[in-house]
């Protein structure tokens, strides 16, 4: 491949004089080198991967109509407090007299608790997902049904409070768990003195 050579022989036909062609050899290696250089350039300078995003919607600062605000039952309220060094605490129900329990972001920690709490809905979502694969459900239909499942009035409501010692990764992990455990309603709220008091002893 490195060279292309023209036919060096030429038959003498009928005694006519033909000039003898010298064999020419062209070396194509530089072209291949350029080709690889260009490939390397494109491989390094461009990217095929598009980074993913998580969509989140925050509650509005303005006052919400009381009718729209869903009243969270104390039994269904879960509060997560994100502490420092990747610690996370949780308690059920109201802030007063709550039992704060420490856990972590591993699969057997926070996710286990949330899945237990959200068992019914999580199971329904799982069933819907397997149904989607079996019946080749349309994406819009799937989303609509998912919304219906999540609109269940008895679904747990999670409040996420991040202390100043936590980092962004903790927040994203917590939001991720919301997604994985199919929690329908959650909100990121500011931490207050009462909650800080609850974890003061444990958050060292």
């Amino acid at each position: 491949m490195a060279d292309v050579s023209q036919d060096s022989g030429s038959h003498k036909k009928g005694g006519k004089k033909r000039s003898k062609k010298l064999p020419t050899r062209i070396d194509f290696t530089p072209m291949v080198d350029l080709g690889f250089l260009l490939i390397t350039f494109f491989m390094l300078a461009t990217s095929l991967i598009k980074p993913q995003t998580m969509e989140i919607t925050m509650p509005s600062d303005k006052k919400v109509e009381d009718v729209d605000k869903a009243v969270a039952k104390a039994s269904q309220a879960v509060t997560l407090i994100l502490g420092k060094n990747d610690k996370v605490f949780y308690y059920f129900g109201k802030t007063e007299g709550a039992q704060v329990i420490e856990t972590n972001y591993a699969a057997d920690g926070l996710r286990k608790i949330l899945l237990e709490k959200n068992f019914n809905i999580a199971k329904q979502v799982e069933d819907l997902k397997s149904e989607k694969i079996k019946t080749h459900m349309n994406e819009d239909v799937f989303q609509k049904k998912l919304g219906e499942i999540k609109a269940n009035k008895n679904a747990p409501v999670v409040r996420i409070m991040a202390t100043d010692d936590s980092n962004y990764r903790n927040l994203v992990d917590a939001l991720d768990e919301m997604n994985i455990c199919s929690i329908s309603r959650y909100a990121i709220v500011d931490i207050d003195e009462q909650d800080l008091q609850l974890i003061r002893d444990k958050n060292i």
Partner: protein, 187 residues
């Protein structure tokens, strides 16, 4: 041997057609991972980059929109910029400097622009919330903008809280957090 040459050119053509150039960012940020598979939109996007030290960078796409934006900001903060400086601004994907340092920053040579000492981050404290102003004017320039926050894993939460609070005050309640894909749920 010609086969190898052919393969090389095929690969080259593939890369030329399917990929797009990555944006140059002032700081390299390691985003946390999540299971979310929603892709980032390519146009009409406002990027807020927060590095681990807490500096805030801001950028929108569209060169003409950037020119409009810098004109408005310059008018608000009473900084005069020559058309040449505005043009230079419109070529930047992301920038992180308070307005009073903007003129000096735009006059730096391109290779020193990304050094940490030349990027002080956009102020987000309540006394001088330039970040809020940038977002507000960017929204005026392009009403369809979607906000995307790209922060490092180790960014301390108070900085993020300030950013989210500024956005909340401007009634920007829908935004995206940029993450990388987590291969298996759980660590």
């Amino acid at each position: 041997m010609t086969a190898m040459c052919d393969v090389a050119f095929l690969l080259l053509t593939f890369f030329m057609l399917t990929s797009n150039f990555t944006r140059k960012e002032p700081v390299l940020v390691a985003t946390p991972s999540s299971v979310s598979e929603i892709k980032i939109p390519e146009t009409n996007i406002m990027t807020v980059l927060v590095d681990p030290t807490g500096k805030v960078y801001f950028g929108i796409d569209g060169q003409d929109k950037r020119e409009l934006l810098i004109e408005k900001m310059a008018a608000t903060y009473k900084v005069t910029l020559t058309p040449e400086e505005r043009k230079r601004f419109s070529l930047l994907d992301l920038f992180g400097n308070p307005m009073y340092a903007m003129k000096a920053f735009l006059n730096l040579a391109p290779d020193v622009r990304d050094l940490p000492q030349n990027n002080m981050g956009i102020p987000t404290d309540s006394t001088d919330n330039q970040f809020k102003q940038w977002v507000k004017l960017a929204r005026e320039v392009n009403p369809d903008l979607r906000i995307a926050i790209k922060a490092d894993e180790k960014t301390p939460f108070p900085v993020i809280k300030k950013v989210m609070k500024s956005l909340q005050e401007l009634d920007e309640n829908r935004y995206n957090l940029i993450t990388k894909l987590e291969t298996t749920p759980g660590r």
